[in-house]
């Protein structure tokens, strides 16, 4: 899969990303690092433990990382959840979490084919 196909598959904007970041090779290098980024799992654990402060911070980091890598669908899902626990406060709308899981899964699967 090319990087262009990758971005199409995960709901990202290839053109916007390549205009911001140095080169295709570097984008790929960072995208391949994403599976090692701890913020998704931190967020998952924090939600299970109902640690809302950590949930806020982890979703905030996840949002920032996804945004920087141009993974827009993941970025938007994380940003919505992040705003919901901002304060920090408990997550009232549980339906905000599955889209984050789905977007993350989609990214990880696509990376495996990259």
């Amino acid at each position: 899969m090319t990087l262009q196909e990758f971005y199409a598959r995960i709901g990202g904007d290839y053109n916007a990303t390549i205009s911001r970041l140095p080169s295709e090779a570097l984008i790929k290098k960072f995208v391949l690092k994403y599976p090692g980024d701890p913020s998704f799992n931190q967020l998952k654990d924090a939600l299970e433990a109902q640690d809302w402060e950590l949930a806020f911070r982890a979703s905030h980091t996840l949002k920032g990382v996804a945004q920087n890598l141009g993974m827009d669908r993941l970025y938007k899902a994380a940003a919505t959840l992040c705003d919901a626990v901002r304060g920090p406060k408990p997550l009232e709308d549980a339906s905000l979490w599955p889209p984050v899981v789905a977007a993350n899964e989609e990214v990880l699967e696509a990376i495996r084919e990259l």
């Binding site: 140095p22 960072f30 911070r57 920032g64 945004q67 920087n68 890598l69 141009g70």
Partner: protein
């Protein structure tokens, strides 16, 4: 400049740090902190950070806490900060600017923007640093020649008093050490770095009144008679009079400080000194410190009527009240200033190539800071 400029990236996400590092390229030396506390501890130990890229949401200490600390320690005056937060709400941006951030880069990071803003900020600060250095060099030249003049003047007086060639240098060094120790213990006297430098300089003039004391009394090896001692005591008021009758520069801080020191460096904390019998903090702090430095140097130096005591003995004698009573705070400073004997021993050598430049730098930075403070206050009004 041969060395690379150093940029500290404080962001809790390793991915974001890696992206920024890659964007900045090889032209810089990159330091990384994964939370606010690490960032502060790097800034604390490493004075040579040229720029800080700072995230807001971080564990332990967040970006605002880091900015607050940087204000508290005045690092913000020298190290520019560019915010790199994913938080774009205007309240966050404003708060960061209010706390002294230079710039705000929103996400997603754009390489061209990151590079350009980093370069611009570094250039701006390099210009400021050059200006500070320029001012420092000017102050240095001025201070160097005026210090030399003062030292020559006080040496003229000392010259008649055959035994104490190094007395003036010792007084200056001891005054300096005591004052620096004092400001670490209390801010009661509101002494700035510039005040300390001024008192140190003026302390050289403490005995100018001796110019009018007959050499037969000044250099008498035995004990002075009551009349002779009364004459000797007048060196305080004579010195003050000389300064008081200066036909010029009456308003100069140096003259005012020197006046206090000349007149009151034989006053004692309990009011039993001379010439005015002032008590406690009625005695200006400059005179209190020089009085203690004077006594300490008299004890630790050889005189025609006595041998030199070592540091510990001298301190013990002073604490026992054998030379009169002193401000208890200053006595604390004296006991904790263990570096006194070595630094006095080196003061003659040190004086010849004393690091005026560092001091001038200090003073000019303090001046600039004061100016900046006034400007900020104006803006807030």
């Amino acid at each position: 400049m041969s060395e690379k400029e150093r940029i500290l990236i404080a962001d809790d996400s390793a991915m974001n740090r890696a992206i920024l590092t890659e964007m900045l390229g090889d032209g810089y030396e990159i330091l990384e902190a994964e939370d606010g506390r690490q960032a502060v501890s790097i800034l604390q130990t490493d004075a040579s950070v040229d720029l800080l890229l700072l995230d807001i949401m971080m564990p332990n200490m967040d970006g605002f806490d880091v900015l607050t600390m940087m204000n508290k320690y005045h690092w913000i005056d020298e190290i520019p900060v560019i915010m790199i937060s994913a938080e774009n709400a205007s309240s966050f941006v404003e708060r960061a600017y209010d706390l002294g951030a230079t710039d705000y880069i929103s996400r997603p990071f754009d390489m061209a923007v990151v590079r350009r803003r980093v370069i611009n900020t570094l250039m701006l600060y390099a210009k400021q640093k050059r200006l500070v250095r320029l001012v420092a060099e000017q102050v240095y030249e001025k201070e160097k020649s005026s210090s030399t003049m003062i030292n020559i003047l006080s040496h003229i007086v000392e010259f008649r008093n055959a035994e104490s060639g190094l007395h003036v240098l010792h007084i200056q060094t001891a005054t300096d050490i005591l004052l620096r120790t004092l400001v670490q213990k209390t801010d009661k006297y509101g002494l700035t770095a510039a005040d300390i430098f001024l008192i140190r300089t003026a302390s050289a003039l403490h005995d100018i009144g001796k110019i009018n004391i007959p050499e037969s009394i000044l250099n008498k090896p035995g004990k002075l008679t009551k009349e002779e001692f009364e004459t000797m005591k007048t060196h305080t008021t004579i010195g003050a009079d000389i300064l008081d009758k200066l036909p010029f520069q009456q308003e100069s801080e140096l003259v005012k400080t020197a006046y206090s020191i000349c007149r009151w460096h034989h006053e004692r904390w309990d009011g039993r000194g001379y010439p005015d019998g002032l008590k406690g903090d009625e005695i200006p702090i400059a005179a209190q410190v020089v009085a203690l430095a004077d006594v300490y140097d008299a004890l630790t130096s050889e005189r025609c009527y006595k041998k030199a005591f070592d540091h510990d003995t001298a301190v013990q004698m002073i604490l026992n009240g054998e030379c009169g009573q002193f401000n208890p705070l200053l006595l604390e400073c004296l006991t904790s200033a263990a570096q006194l004997p070595t630094e006095l021993g080196q003061s003659a050598a040190a004086e010849s190539h004393r690091n005026y430049l560092a001091e001038a730098q200090h003073i000019s930075e303090a001046l600039l800071q004061e100016q900046a403070g006034i400007r900020t206050a104006d803006k807030l009004l």
